[in-house]
Symmetry: C2
Subunit: 217 residues, 2 copies
């Protein structure tokens, strides 16, 4: 965790780099260490308070719950996955797939996403946070698809967010469903697959069906 | 839930259609109803016992935990997603994608998979069950890819289980991460994407890299 990231969306956040930001940094670092030590099941506000030195009442006031803390940590850490601009869509897809692989290569990151998905299953407010978090990331990442459409690499009716969802999907399937580590082969496969599928018209904007000649009978 | 499915893997199962099978059917039906009524968070052995009329000690003896019950239910219900054999891989992929969409079109099914993934995050034994459950399903579904390779529709070095993982991945992403309902457009997109990507060599067996001409620079 670095202070270079703009803290975003934390309740009470007003002065980046100020005391509020330092409190957040200490608390999120503590959450991250606790996740590494005991996973989500053993995570409590009290443990985060002890490790961070921040009073437990402050934690409840600013983050409401353990789930709120974990979601905020996810937002913070996602700034570590840069959005590439290599000049070609295949290059961008491959670079992003490699960043995602590096990110989830750490077991603690896999536990974090497991924790967030589990929390969302139990708590509708976490589900809302998760949906909006991934929505924002997809919209940002979609810019690389928009550039590709502008360059003529993809059909004009391509839906950027569908393309980016399709790039991410194999990683979450691997982590949450297949329950095996992500690796370089997965990154390569995901990038190759999305590039071929996008060119075949598999990710049309609403109202444009997938190209029939690509689907077959 | 129908009695037509072969009960599989339940501890103590010896006579399909016998008393043990009827017990399992009653218990799994109760779990399904409880999930629909209150979701996973409110699910307890006691509630399942009350609804099914099966003694709680029997539940603990045969299924060990709520997580064990939910995994067994998943196994039972997955028999409702038939594996197609239409004569072409695009036809098979589209038919299977539509079956998956119908399966997870029910909110209760989405809650079920959320529950299983959450349970796996907390309990390594559930994680093992989940991994082996999806491993078996992938191996079975992979037969449609093997037939396609035999028909010459796909490169010989195609990995069947990777293809089937790629077909499933967008559905689990939609449910667990994007947290929106699955729909016909997703089925169409998933089938179109996997067909295009598989032909481009995106799912090679270990030791065969993705086709370089499909990946670009």
């Amino acid at each position: 965790m670095t202070t270079a990231h703009q803290p975003q969306g934390a309740p009470g956040e007003t002065r980046p780099g100020g005391r509020t930001a330092r409190t957040r940094e200490a608390v999120l670092a503590a959450v991250f260490e606790e996740l590494g030590a005991g996973g989500f099941a053993g995570l409590t506000m009290e443990k985060v308070s002890q490790r961070s030195g921040i009073h437990v009442a402050t934690l409840y006031r600013r983050w409401r719950s353990i789930e709120g803390l974990v979601c905020d940590l996810l937002t913070e850490l996602s700034a570590d996955v840069p959005l590439p601009d290599t000049g070609t869509l295949p290059g961008d897809l491959r670079a992003l797939a490699r960043s995602i692989t590096a990110f989830y290569g750490e077991p603690r990151m896999r536990r974090l996403i497991e924790a967030v998905v589990s929390a969302a299953a139990r708590d509708p407010q976490v589900a809302t946070v998760l949906r909006s978090f991934f929505g924002e990331r997809l919209a940002l990442a979609g810019q690389m698809v928009e550039r590709a459409v502008a360059r003529g690499e993809l059909p004009a009716e391509t839906d950027p967010e569908q393309v980016m969802s399709a790039l991410g999907a194999p990683f979450y399937y691997r982590i949450l469903i297949a329950r095996r580590p992500v690796d370089a082969a997965l990154a390569e496969s995901a990038a190759t697959a999305v590039w071929a599928a996008a060119r075949a018209g598999a990710y049309p904007r609403e109202g444009h069906g997938p190209a029939d000649d690509a689907t077959g009978p």
